[in-house]
Amino acid sequence: MKQFQGQTLSWDVANGVIELALHREPCNEIGALTTEELEQFVAELGALSREAHALIIYSALKSGFCAGADLRELYRRIQQIGRVEVAKEIRSYLGRIHHVMNAIDSCPLTTIAAVHGVVFGGGFELALTCDLMIADRMARFCFPELRLGLIPGFGGIPRLKRDLGNSVVRDLLLTGRSFNATKAQQIGLVSQVVAEGEALRAARATATQIAKFDRSTAIAAKKFIKPIPYQELQREIDIFCELFAQPAVEAGLKKFVESSDAQPYLP
């Protein structure tokens, strides 16, 4: 399927470039429907990859790239069936979302995340699956999970540790602070910082450059330099599930969902 128009995302292939656009209001929160459509995308990725050399992931929404997991949906689910039952579902869900993230991470394309605005939690983790990150100068990154009594669960820690240093992971994870695109470039997370509204254009220009190289060489280079940290990813799922079983998580979710604070993202 060269083209797809879903409720939360769409994709299209043109000139050898797959463009995956996220468009679920308010800020591409990843819930059940987004996960299903991401699964559809990775199921097609093998076929799409045969006629493409690059993949660009971006958000069509002004608010940002992605605010992460849909916490309101998660909280509603806990209210419906209880925390203990949701905890049982979580491991299966994490297996599904890790399958999506690993498929994008390891696909035989050069992948680019073109990000702007909010790049938080699961959204940050989705961007981290890409080979290159190009950021609008108004992009902002954060792992706010500790305020909920959790760690990032979509593979963020092992991927950030793979790409940067352990000290960067500790800073982001343990303080829960957000940082801007300039800082992200300074620490080596982002390869290009561009003017407001220019990330997608810059990503397309980069994809055009990538097309000049022999595909099999690019695939071999990527495979050599970007191993998937499977063991750590599995450990992350285990730790996430252990933490999710604690009552602190429901309390953290309740606080976030019911907050009328103007800064609910702050720890």
Partner: protein, 80 residues
């Protein structure tokens, strides 16, 4: 630490221009959430805009409880 008027003025100018609010309607001791009519995501936008303008890094936990332009200017000035 006394707040430099220039820092405060630049913050007010930036906020007015970014959120398209008349500059004369903003005053230093006003609650910027109310004055600008902004939500939490837009507050992050303001933070990023200010960091880019002043070339500072301002951890967002330092802004917890900060809601007026004058205190915000003090936080920025402490990092200049």
């Amino acid at each position: 630490m006394p707040i430099a008027n220039q820092t405060l003025d630049e913050i007010l100018d930036l906020a007015a221009s970014h959120f398209k609010v008349p500059r004369e309607k903003l005053s230093p001791d006003e609650d910027f959430f109310k004055a600008l009519g902004i939500d939490s995501l837009q507050t992050l936008d303001l933070l990023t805009k200010l960091e880019n303008h002043f070339h500072v890094e301002l951890p967002d936990y330092e802004l917890q409880g900060v809601s007026d332009f004058r205190t915000l200017a003090g936080k920025i000035q402490a990092r200049l």
